[in-house]
Symmetry: C2
Subunit: 263 residues, 2 copies
DNA sequence: TAAATGTTGTTGCTAAAATAACAACAAGGT
DNA sequence: ACCTTGTTGTTATTTTAGCAACAACATTTA
């Protein structure tokens, strides 16, 4: 490679993920620093071989990132970055939309496929995905939702998901501290911090105190949120009787401990 | 390739432009039609070689498109399409944003670089880019804006850009027909259809009657909008005295023809 | 219980496709 | 005669795809 000399590599990677090749990225960047450059000048400022510059410029014009003059020799000019990125994103969003609708179609054809006995335990990665599953759990609950959850996690992510839960569902929340009024909607039990954290782990280590939680819906679906220090969070989700019963017992003993009027 | 048998190719291309490889797309699609498939089942439904399925699944998990069970053998499940696409788009938008800000920084460093004499003639592709340039023209005008423009182009694209033009700038518009009230803001001259279209071209051919226009600001900047039949529109823009004077003369004679109280 | 068989997950190597890099040259302009 | 632009064809390099072989288990069969 001739000239990513002063160009940060992750900028090029970002542009690649917007659908450009390395050459296209280099040429566009080079073009942004000049005005009305000839192909040869583009070659010089971008470090891309002169012969390669022509097809690359053609593609960039096609992608609405550069404009061409009608002079001879041709002169090239970059569309301003804001506009250019927007042009790229428009294409990508179109693709995303058409992919999404095609995939939804396929997805609906999936037979519900009752996977009888032995329910597996799923690992879910990424905050978004965990929240989506948690929201499903809450919405699907018919009688009762129970949770043991660190306060920051509760206020940052969980409370917002509890809005749509119907009145008929009893919601018990155990958390470490609670300041302010008791929301009439749920039953919140404060709980001395540290007591319920990491039954198996020593407190001082890498696992963060915050961002973990245990959720149970109707005694049939359980989710364990594990916010592994700074990294992408992950969660276990299961409808298997094994894990559900474990969680059931765990919650029950905590409930007794904090003196909640349990089930 | 073993099995893009019933999978539309442009779906795969769309997914590729969202950052997936062909294999990743095939596996994700295959996974959408099953529930809790083992790696071997994934291999069967996707047509991807069994040995390749493992690294591909790893990457998909990393990209938050699939979740894994903790059973042995591992079972895989697709994140629903809507959620999945959203997860992909989030990454891309992050890249877009960081690229945009990095590029803006570079862009600002560009020396204005007075390219003295001989102004070139630019070709601009894409509706968005043309509109942006046109808007610049209007906003930069200090005394007068004149245009000869097909009615559909006028109402679809141009009128909206004229809003911010200050009162002190005189705006003359020549178009083919005009129904309804005369906007007090501009001077609109109706003009028998066909008479001003394509001076060099016979009317019956491929060039569409609609979607062309000529714009002149302050006698120094000219833009010619060419809406080539159904395709991506393009435009010429210039500040060169040559093109500007051509446009000036052209507009003047049309003005006289329609009996406008010209300059 | 031991042998045969099967499946899962891994590793390493080869093939094909997409990108990148270069050499050479025709056409024009000076 | 010389230089620059724009084009073409050919050869690396990198990324992606495809395959074969195998260790680790688990299941069946004798």
């Amino acid at each position: 490679m001739t000239a990513p000399r002063d160009i940060p590599n992750d900028l090029i990677e970002s542009l690649k993920s917007l659908g450009l090749t390395r050459y296209e990225a280099l040429v566009y960047i080079g073009l942004l620093r000049t005005t009305g450059a000839t192909a040869t000048e583009v070659h010089e400022t971008s470090g891309v071989p002169r012969a390669s510059v022509y097809p690359v410029l053609d593609r960039l014009v096609q992608k609405e990132l550069v404009s061409v003059s009608h002079t001879t020799p041709k002169r090239f000019d970059a569309v301003p970055p804001g506009q250019g990125i927007e042009n790229l994103m428009r294409r990508i969003e179109d693709d995303a939309e058409s992919a999404r609708s095609a995939l939804e179609r396929l997805y609906r054809e999936k037979r519900p496929e009752a996977r009888g006995n032995q329910e597996p335990i799923w690992t879910i990665y990424g905050e978004e995905n965990i929240r989506a599953r948690l929201s499903d759990m809450f919405l699907g609950a018919e009688r009762r939702v129970e949770m043991l959850v660190a306060r920051d996690l509760l206020v940052e992510h969980v409370l917002a998901l509890l809005g749509p839960v119907p009145e008929s569902v009893q919601v018990d929340i155990i958390t470490d501290t609670w300041e302010g009024e008791q929301p009439s909607r749920f039953r919140i039990h404060a709980h001395p911090p540290g007591a319920h954290q990491k039954p198996h782990t020593s407190p001082g280590k890498g696992l963060r105190y915050e961002s973990s939680g245990i959720f149970l819906a109707d005694d049939v679906r359980a989710l364990i949120w594990m916010g592994s220090s700074g990294e992408q969070p992950s969660a276990l989700y299961s409808e298997s009787t094994g894990l559900v019963q474990f969680v059931r017992r765990y919650l029950t003993s905590i409930m007794e401990w904090v003196g909640a009027t349990g089930q």
